[in-house]
């Protein structure tokens, strides 16, 4: 997780993409998560990163209340998209180690190229040191599976759904939820790897059990 270096254009771009469909860093209310990232960003993002700028100006309007916003400030690397590597330097020796800072120098003006190269090498160094495996983007999906009528064998219906075995799909808990007229729908949780399994495919496979399943809907969808 994390956004990379929020003082760099690359980090701000990650923040911008992350905020395109979100009002806040976490959840739907301003929190210490927003304050933590706001303080790291330090200056208004450029106008072309319109989502980051919108968020920045909005959080700035909470400046007076920032101490009372809910939540607890965590390290920057804990926020942001799940599929970005945490390059916020959880290791302490990256800055002290002279071997890495091959092109940088406090006295000289860094050329764009040299700076880019240095950032790339830093990221590579961090990823070698990091013992974490590559983060796979996953989502938790809650599905509503509706039977034809109240006579449908819901145990068999559930069996059919769980019989769908695909790489990147893990079935979770389920329960029967009454929807009226004696009919119950199956509400079942699953965790999918975003690159391998999509809701369209799930719908196709589930509704293929025509004898039992009338329709399938996505009741909830959360990125993990």
């Amino acid at each position: 997780m994390g956004f990379g270096d929020l003082k760099s254009a690359a980090g701000l771009q990650v923040l911008n993409d992350f905020l395109a469909d979100r009002s806040y860093i976490e959840g739907y209310v301003p929190s210490q998560a927003d304050i933590a990232v706001f303080e790291a960003v330090a200056a208004p993002p450029p106008a072309e990163l319109c989502h980051a700028l919108r968020w920045y100006n909005h959080i700035k309007s909470y400046e007076k209340q920032k101490a009372s916003l809910p939540g607890v400030k965590k390290a920057l690397g804990k926020y942001g998209p799940a599929d970005v590597e945490d390059t916020t330097g959880a290791t302490t020796d990256s800055k002290d180690d002279d071997d890495i800072d091959l092109f940088g120098s406090d006295d000289e003006e860094e050329s764009e190229e040299a700076k880019k190269l240095r950032e790339e090498r830093l990221a590579q160094y961090e990823s070698k040191k990091s013992k974490k495996p590559a983060v796979i983007a996953k989502s938790s999906i809650l599905l509503d599976v509706k039977p034809w009528d109240d006579e449908t064998d819901m145990a068999k219906l559930e069996e059919c759904v769980r019989s769908i075995q695909v790489d990147g799909l893990v079935w979770g808990s389920s329960k029967l939820v009454p929807v009226g007229y004696g009919i119950k729908k199956l509400q079942i949780q699953c965790v999918v790897e975003d690159d391998k399994v999509g809701t369209d495919m799930l719908e196709e496979r589930i509704t293929a059990f025509e004898d039992y399943v009338q329709s399938m809907d996505v009741a909830a969808f959360n990125k993990i």
């Binding site: 395109a20 319109c50 700028l53 100006n57 309007s61």
Partner: protein, 172 residues
């Protein structure tokens, strides 16, 4: 109409037992008050309910904010409610998407009655959009998803799902 006003009452935390009726061909809502002829019109009644609930900040705090709130309440009744057909919808969504690029709420930084009534008014439209359309009107989707999560607003209305499909984000 009356159903929406009942939703609004609950989202404002009111339990006044107000009585609503409708009048005319266009079924304009009417609120029977104890003294007087009754209040007519969605926006008029909504503003009255906000005051009844003692939540006047929902009508805007500064003069400018109040004007913006009124602007969107008017928009809801004149543009959204009068809208029929794909072309009208497209224009509304396009206008709203541009407007919301730099704003979290319709009035800017604060949640107001404008957000509530625009959410209720747009719900049937948003519920019918395809995945690509939701991605296209990204700012509207972001705002709508935010409002539907605001405590007390959505109630029994269906939760509209928004999925950020990575296929399309690279097109920006």
């Amino acid at each position: 109409g009356p159903q929406e006003l009942a939703l609004l009452e609950r989202s404002l935390g009111l339990q006044e037992g107000n009585k609503y009726g409708v009048q005319g061909e266009r079924k304009i809502p009417v609120l029977q008050t104890n003294n007087g002829p009754g209040l007519i019109g969605l926006v008029t009644i909504a503003a009255y309910l906000v005051k009844q609930a003692k939540k006047e900040q929902l009508l805007g705090s500064t003069a400018e904010e109040k004007a913006v709130v009124q602007q969107w309440l008017e928009y809801r009744v004149t543009q959204v409610d009068g809208c029929c057909g794909k072309e009208d919808t497209r224009i509304i969504l396009k206008d709203l998407n541009m407007y919301l690029e730099d704003k979290v709420y319709l009035a800017g930084n604060n949640f107001t009655l404008a957000d509530i009534l625009m959410y209720y008014g747009l719900h049937p439209i948003m519920a019918d959009l395809t995945v690509q359309e939701k991605e296209k009107y990204l700012n509207v989707s972001r705002w709508f998803n935010h409002i539907q999560h605001y405590p007390g607003v959505r109630q029994h209305l269906s939760n509209v799902i928004f999925i950020k499909n990575r296929l399309y984000t690279n097109a920006h």
